[in-house]
Amino acid sequence: MTTFNIYLIGVGGQGIGLLSEIILRAADHSGQSAVAVDTHGLAQRGGVVVSQIRLGIAAGTPLIPGHQADLVVSLERHEAMRGLDSAARPGGTLIYYDTVWQPLGVRTGEAAEISAEDLAAACQERQVRLVSVHDPDLTDARQQNMRVLKTIHQEGLVPGISQADYLQAMDDLMTGGMLASNRKLFLD
């Protein structure tokens, strides 16, 4: 079995952990072995949060060697650039939710905000396919992770995982109103 590496990156509070756990569990439901790890530095507190999943590995390090991520998933534009920089392999794919949570330097006026064009150019240079997701109808920011999952599924960005596997994984982890609204978003 070949390994498929997924590197997820976002800002603390965006729901990277849940998104990662759904993909991990969906992979398991699809019969693939997998290991994963979450990395949150100084707690979450608005810093960078990373999660890594390695499909096709039953036991082994969950840490993806540099620039060997087949898929980078991000929930924010600056973090998409960071994930591209540190993890994506040439020929891989970057999918991100196109929203901006300005980093400190941008807010204090010391750094420039990264534009969607900057990111597209960088992807081209690194030979990484870019999939940008944005849904103007989405009112609750906490669902952006599920919106990205929907496109991951529609585009078949993770091999071997079916819709039923994703739904089952969502069932494992959510309940009540949260499950209902996220299922609806995923299926609509």
Partner: protein, 629 residues
Amino acid sequence: MKKMGNMLLTRPPFSEIVMGNTALVRAMIETGTRVVTSYPGSPTPEIAAAIASIPPDERPFYFEFSTNEKVATEVAYGAAVNGHLAAVFFKSVGLNVAADTFVQLSLMNIIGGLVVILGDDPGANSSQNEQDNRHYAQLSYTPVFEPADPGEAYTFYKAAAKLARTQHMPVILRLTTHVCHAKAKLAFDAWRPHPRDDTPRFDPANGPYIPIAANVFPMKERALERLSAVRTFAETTALNRVSGTSKRRGIITTGLTALSAEAVLAETEDTPEVLKLALSYPLARETVRDFLATHEEVFVLEELDNLMEMEIKSLAFDAGLRTKITGKTDQAAWMGEYTPDKVRHLLYQVWPDVVPAASTPAPLSVPERPAQMCPGCGHRSAFHAIKAVLADADITVADIGCHTLGYLPPYEMGQLLMCMGASTAMGSGLGLFNQTRRVVAFMGDSTFFHAALPGVVNALFNRHNLTLILMENGTTAMTGHQDHAASGRNFNTETVGIPLRQVLQGFGIEAIFEVDTYQQAELGRRLQEALAVKGFSVVIARHPCMLKFTREQRRRPNYQLRQVGVDQESCVQSHACVARFGCPSFVRHADGRVSVNPDLCIGDASCRQTCPVEAITKPQIRSTEEDPP
């Protein structure tokens, strides 16, 4: 939804995807662990989260968050000498706090057995340093198990508990950040509950338990004898593992580092053999000697310090072995986590023919994203107000907690940091002979009870001249909102919260000021008054943790999300809100305009007072959440 608590209590064998920290809790249950204690600290708090998922009346063991790591160790020890298998867990630097007690443990006859679970943090992901706690193990003759992944966290805990119980000794289970937080699908054994035995079995005849004078040496002798018994275990245990093919070259390593090596070597042919030891201390000398004797070159791949390398080299010298042994070759080898990338680089330095150099593209430029205080955080309001009062020359002393983040721009409140509770006493020292630069120390409320009390008492006792600002948010925020002595709840039940003000008054502190941090002008005035006091003064700067508060509110139906806005007509683009108050909810546009990020604003309105032209509008309802999500 799958319920973690139910899963942990399953009787027949089962498989489930779990985090290392969760796997440990199942191991505690299966081994019949009766008492578990802790003080929160990354990377371990999720162990407590897993325990909390089990309904209190079904929990097979007692658990508490104690006031600090030393207390937690003492509670677990007390239970263990009463005959109960006990465990204590905390983060790497927690062992410094626990040390005075911890170093004595191996001298004792711990009839129930005691497992000390350490969450070490190579790479300093969430700690002040990346200290190598194996030094403490050597210092105190305590064995160290080194699990590499969740599966080993589970099996090694069970082995450690068995050893601790049969040898009546303390045993360390040393996890590292990415072992605690790794996830894998594990096959768990059946749980056959042990018959419950509450008998207090403490008997001085099992001792001595009093390490003084003549007792010390027989106690030390026993510790050394146990250690040599454990060495035999370390040499013979099936938990050691060898992988790879080459007889010419070998690697000796432990834990997650072994998995990094295996990942890097998987890409090569005739891979060096990797000897992965289950215990880093005591060293499995026989096993290592045999491995050295059967390889021409051996690389000791050891994260952080070079303890195994030194012992392996001296052992080879004593045995007259000619094997070429390499360990640390440069300073970088002493630093950082041994990730696959790091290990690739280290292997390349030693055996360039085995592992090719990594090629990395020129880095892209991305603005850094340091952790910061949340939208609405009361600490932000406090720092903004305090900064306005203090002069540039004044000295601000930080402490550990969310408020540490005040050291960052734009506040830059906090110029020195050490460890939990250190600010008051460091500030006391900074105040000596100092007539010109006022000293202000910060402190969180969980930290106050953890390790700050002696420093506070000392400031009073020795008449030091400084102002302490107690950043009271009602919780241990940084590590995930654990209750503390002032919260009015412990892990298990309601308690009477210990009021900070009365504690300070009880000590005899007269100059105590209290204010809600959202009242920024008032806080400024109170601080002026406190600074004018000669001697020790305290300002209690209070506001509930807004992350915790908002999460709780949002769990209720019909939560109304409110948000402020920026009135573009009146905004003069002074950027006071976005650049000086610095709430992450503000957005600064390239043309100088400022707006509010609807994904982030919680409508707390603490920002409104910071705008010189009152351009920040009253919070308006943005949406109503019928169902809690």
